[in-house]
Each structure stands twice: as structure tokens, then as C-alpha cells.
């Protein structure tokens, strides 16, 4: 949040009797992010949906594909799929959290925020940090519980590559990916009037984005598919995570280097956030609704 506070906010020069309190970006971001979390935990169905789907994917796809899969350096499908599911959780929770923008607009809450004397940056960051925290929380839950399913026989035992040593950096990296994806979700949700449109985008754009990110199956050596995967920014999110947690260095030899992954992910986050701030600051008939 130090980045947020560094932005100069010196427009408020009103008389002392009016500006008895200075709106602060930090406080506004904090309050908007907390609200996201509180809303999430009050909607029980959202919790079940957000947690249930990845576990079902993990168990069923794992069981179905483990026989036919030939992974890089001979790793099992579960070992390959594990970081992919983590990315899926991050992606869907992060992006889905931004559907609340559409609800806020429809229910009127958003207009109250827009007339408040807070910078538009704070409005964007409040939403995006809220989504990021939700996404990381759920991913961590999966990382912890997923491998344990082997104990009850729902998946073969795997070596996840997660250790107490690399956990903090994995967490930080997941947070970065979640931040970028929530910002992307913000961009999609902001212009929309109904949640129907959001669901449509979800299935024709976001689902393929995940499928073609190297999370579900490895990129082929050549052909059009390899290019689509190479141009997908999420590929670098997934590849970065693989490089951090792989138990077998040969299994990630064909992936982009970690610095490249980090650079692409940071750059896309910056681009999405900048666009989101620009969109939020525009005074349009749509924003006034």
C-alpha cells in the first residue's frame, strides 16, 4: 500500500471548518477491501462454489487423465496439474470477486463511493486488494488440503514441491498473479450493466485463457496452439509458479525463465490497473448510474 500513499493528493484546499478530516487513500482502500471480505463471508453459497469447484476438478480430472498423461520429465499428471489448479483458483476467485462491481452499480452503492472525496486510485485498489486477498486465501487452502486427499485415496500421493522454505515466496507470487487477475476482472466488470454479460465473458474468454496457459496441459512444441499459449499473459503466471514449486528441475526446462514470468505478470498488472483507474475516473452517464 506504500505505492498508494505516495500518490500526491493536494487538491483539498478548502477552509479548515469544512475539511475537518482529510480523506486518506490508505483508509479508503482499507475500508473498501474489508467490505469485500465481509460480503464474501456473509454469502455462504459463494464460499461453497469457490472452494468446491477446484477440488472437484482436482479429483476428477486427476483421476481421468492420470493414465494417458505423459508429462515432462516423467512427472505424474497430479504433479503437473497441482500448480495449474492453484492458478485456476486464483483466477476464478480473483475475477469472480469483481462481479460485485456490477452488483454495487445496480444496488446503488457505487454511486455513493463515486461522490466521496477519495481518489479514483483508492476505489480501484480497494476492490482489487479485496479480490486478491480472497483469491490467495483460497489458493492456500487448496495447497494445504489438496495433497492430503491422497491419504483418503482420492488421488495418488504426489510431491508438490512446496516446502516451509519456499512457501512465503510462493504466497507472494500467488498474490501478484491474483492482483493482476482481479484488475483484469475489474476492467471486464466495470462497463457492464448485468451479471449475464459477465458470465458470458467468463466462458468464452476467461475459461480458454486458463485452459491455454499451460495449467491444464503442456504447450506443444510448435503449431498455432503453441503460439496462442505463448501470447497468453497467464502462461507466464502459471510458468512462474511451476518454476517456484517444481520438485524436478527437468520438468520445467521448456518453460519461460522466472525473470520473464515475473516481468510479464508485473507489466500486465500495471496495464490493467492503469486502465481501471482511467475508466473509473471518467464522468460518464454510465458511471453516474
Amino acid at each position: 500500500m506504500s505505492k498508494a500513499i505516495a500518490i500526491p493528493e493536494s487538491i483539498n484546499d478548502s477552509n479548515g471548518d469544512v475539511a475537518h478530516a482529510q480523506p486518506s487513500i490508505g483508509l479508503a482502500v482499507y475500508t473498501l477491501a474489508i467490505r469485500e471480505l465481509v460480503r464474501f463471508f456473509r454469502q455462504r453459497t459463494r464460499i461453497i462454489g469457490a472452494l468446491g469447484q477446484p477440488f472437484i476438478f482436482w479429483i476428477l480430472f486427476g483421476a481421468g487423465l492420470q493414465g494417458s498423461f505423459r508429462g515432462p520429465a516423467g512427472i505424474s499428471y497430479q504433479e503437473y496439474f497441482f500448480p495449474g489448479v492453484a492458478v485456476m483458483i486464483v483466477m476464478f476467485t480473483a475475477i469472480f470477486s469483481t462481479i460485485s462491481i456490477i452488483e454495487d452499480r445496480r444496488e446503488g452503492f457505487l454511486q455513493g463511493v463515486l461522490v466521496a472525496p477519495v481518489s479514483r486510485l483508492a476505489i480501484v485498489l480497494g476492490k482489487v486488494f479485496g479480490g486478491t486477498i480472497l483469491a490467495v486465501m483460497q489458493a492456500v487452502l487448496f495447497l494445504a488440503i489438496g495433497p492430503l486427499l491422497a491419504v483418503v485415496g482420492l488421488s495418488p500421493p504426489i510431491s508438490t514441491g512446496l516446502t516451509w522454505f519456499n512457501f512465503p515466496i510462493v504466497l507472494a507470487y500467488l498474490a501478484l498473479v491474483a492482483f493482476a487477475l482481479t484488475a483484469l476482472g475489474y476492467l471486464i466488470a466495470w462497463p457492464m450493466d448485468s451479471t449475464h454479460g459477465f458470465h458470458a465473458i467468463m466462458s468464452v474468454f476467461l475459461m480458454p485463457m486458463w485452459l491455454l496457459s499451460g495449467s491444464f496441459f503442456p504447450a506443444p512444441e510448435s503449431g498455432w496452439l503453441s503460439w496462442v499459449i505463448r501470447l497468453n499473459p497467464l502462461t507466464y503466471g502459471t510458468a512462474g509458479l511451476r518454476r517456484l514449486v517444481t520438485p524436478n528441475i527437468d520438468a520445467v526446462a521448456g518453460l519461460p525463465s522466472f525473470p520473464l514470468c515475473l516481468a510479464v505478470t508485473v507489466a500486465s498488472a500495471v496495464i490493467y490497473i492503469s486502465l481501471a483507474i482511467w475508466m473509473t475516473g471518467r464522468q460518464t452517464a454510465h458511471n453516474a448510474r
Binding site: 478530516a21 465481509v38 444496488e107 452503492f109 454511486q111 472525496p117 477519495v118
Partner: protein, 312 residues
């Protein structure tokens, strides 16, 4: 309060594509005044409200609130104003207190300051015993009160309310207006309110009547009523057209035909009523005599019945 100007609007225009929503509006509101914008839906009230609330860009003309320009100093303006929207702006999944807490944070109030301000407003608006309830469980009247509390947390110098009585029963409406007058008296808050209800307009110090994007009248409610004339006669007839012609010839009147009825404004209405009924007993189905209302002002300025204007 002093006679300084709180709101100054001049030659404000706004269009949505081809449709002109405001066609050059100008007025001022003195500090500490309750100023009403009266007009039917689609008259331009909400557009004007959104411009003043910094939600729409100023296309042409200027608007300043306490000398702060809405177009160029929107941050300062946002700090000055409290805004109550026509549609609710509350988060129904949160409690009353939670809603107010988030709002305080957005306006830079935190900790003990926020706490005491919230409890003060809960108290003043009679919400204390519902403070921990989810907003979704409140009635329309209570929600509106929370809405008002929310817009007052940071002690705005100017309060903007868009159709504040929407969805309120007469009792709740009365309470709301009691509170607004108290607020003006105790804290000197300038209040600008849009409404389509005559009864509400009557409670304002001054009033601007908006019709099709133009201010057709501005003044104190009594002043406006006086401008129409002493009395107002409304006649229902099966053939209003021919009756209007006959009235013009017989009494040298200028009757106005509005729909199925005829209206005549003037003095000594009781005598005129007697003469008209005597002269055309068979052509009149009903006749009424009344002091002019704000609706009559609207009709006399626009030639339209208040409710006949097509919405947007």
C-alpha cells in the same frame, strides 16, 4: 446565516447524444437556504443533480458550490457536499453501523471521531435500536433515514437530495422534512432538494420549476402562487372547446383548455363562478374554485398539466 451564495449555476447545458436535458439553467442558492427543484420526471432535475454531485461532466456553462467549481475542483466539491440519492446507495448485506463506518472512512473520519459521529446521527435519526440490523431487513422509511445519516457524517456544508421521499409513506416523509428543517436551523446546512411532489416543494424556502430542461419559474412558493392570480377556476365539461369559446365571448376571459377541463385564473373567482354557472348550466359537469397551487403555477408557466409530460 449570512447572505453568501452557496450554489451558483449559470447557463448550464447538458445533452445526452441528441437529447437536450438542460437548456441553459441559471440560479443561485443562498447559504442556509432550502431550495427545491420541482418538475415532472424527465424535466432535467436528475441531470442537474448529477452535475452538481460531480457524477456527470460539465459540458457547457458553470456550476460552483461555495466558490468551488464543479468541473475543475471536483475533489473539493465532493468534500463539501453530502449526497442522498433517489435510488438507495446502501449495502444491504451490511448492518446500519457497518454502512456508516465505511462511509466515515471514505470521508477520512476514523477511530473515536467516526464512532461518536455515527452514534450521534443514529440517535438524531432514531436509528439507535436498529444499528446492528442488516440494512436489507429495514423498511423503506428506515433505509432512507440511514441514507440521510450516511450523507451527513462528514458535516457537509451543502446537502443534495434527489427525490428524498421516493417510497416513503406520508408519516416518514413528514419526519424527514422535520429533520431537514432542524438541520438547516441548527447547523446552517444549505439544502438543495429535487422533487415532483407539490407538498414537498411547498416546504422549501425558494423553488425553481424545471420543465423540459428549462427553469420556467423561480421564487418563494407564496410568491409563485401569487403570480398566478387570486383564484383558480377549474371547469369540467363534455365539450370543453365550445364552452371555452363561449366563455371568451361572454366574459372576455382567457380560459385555458387542458385536456377535458378548462382553467381560468383571476380575481373575484366566487363571483365569476356564480356568473358562469348561471350562464351555462347545462354545459358544465363540474366546477371548482381554489386558491392557486404550485401545480397551477406549473400549468400557467408551461401550458402543460404536471403529470401529462412524457417521461424521458
Amino acid at each position: 446565516m449570512s447572505d453568501s451564495i452557496a450554489v451558483r449555476v449559470s447557463d448550464l447545458r447538458h445533452r445526452y447524444g441528441d437529447r437536450e436535458a438542460l437548456r441553459g439553467i441559471g440560479f443561485t442558492v443562498a447559504a442556509g437556504e432550502i431550495f427545491g427543484l420541482l418538475g415532472p420526471n424527465g424535466g432535467g432535475k436528475t441531470t442537474l443533480f448529477r452535475l452538481l454531485a460531480t457524477l456527470l461532466p460539465v459540458q457547457s456553462g458553470t456550476a460552483t458550490l461555495l466558490e468551488k467549481n464543479v468541473a475543475t475542483e471536483s475533489r473539493s466539491v465532493r468534500q463539501l457536499i453530502g449526497v442522498t440519492f433517489q435510488s438507495p446507495s446502501l449495502d444491504g448485506k451490511l448492518t446500519v453501523t457497518e454502512n456508516l463506518k465505511h462511509q466515515s472512512h471514505l470521508y477520512g473520519l476514523s477511530g473515536q471521531t467516526a464512532k461518536s459521529r455515527i452514534s450521534e446521527l443514529l440517535d438524531r435519526l432514531g436509528l439507535k435500536d436498529r444499528a446492528q440490523d442488516l440494512v436489507d431487513s429495514l423498511s423503506g422509511g428506515l433505509k432512507r433515514r440511514v441514507e440521510v445519516a450516511k450523507s451527513l457524517l462528514h458535516r457537509p456544508r451543502i446537502l443534495l437530495l434527489d427525490e428524498p421521499s421516493t417510497g416513503l409513506d406520508p408519516g416518514a416523509r413528514h419526519d424527514l422534512w422535520e429533520y431537514l428543517s432542524r438541520l438547516r436551523r441548527d447547523e446552517g446546512t444549505t439544502i438543495l432538494v429535487t422533487t415532483h411532489l407539490m407538498e414537498e416543494a411547498d416546504r422549501c424556502d425558494r423553488l425553481g420549476i424545471l420543465h423540459k430542461g428549462e427553469l420556467v419559474a423561480i421564487g418563494m412558493p407564496d410568491e409563485l402562487r401569487l403570480s398566478v392570480g387570486g383564484d383558480c377556476l377549474t371547469i369540467q365539461s363534455s365539450d370543453p372547446k365550445s364552452l371555452a369559446e363561449k366563455l371568451t365571448i361572454r366574459f372576455q376571459l382567457t380560459p385555458r383548455q387542458i385536456g377535458e377541463s378548462i382553467r381560468i385564473e383571476g380575481n373575484a373567482g366566487h363571483e365569476l363562478l356564480r356568473d358562469i354557472v348561471t350562464a351555462f348550466p347545462s354545459e358544465i359537469t363540474a366546477i371548482s374554485l381554489a386558491k392557486p397551487t404550485l401545480e397551477d403555477v406549473f400549468i400557467s408557466r408551461t401550458g402543460h398539466r404536471f403529470w401529462e409530460n412524457e417521461p424521458v
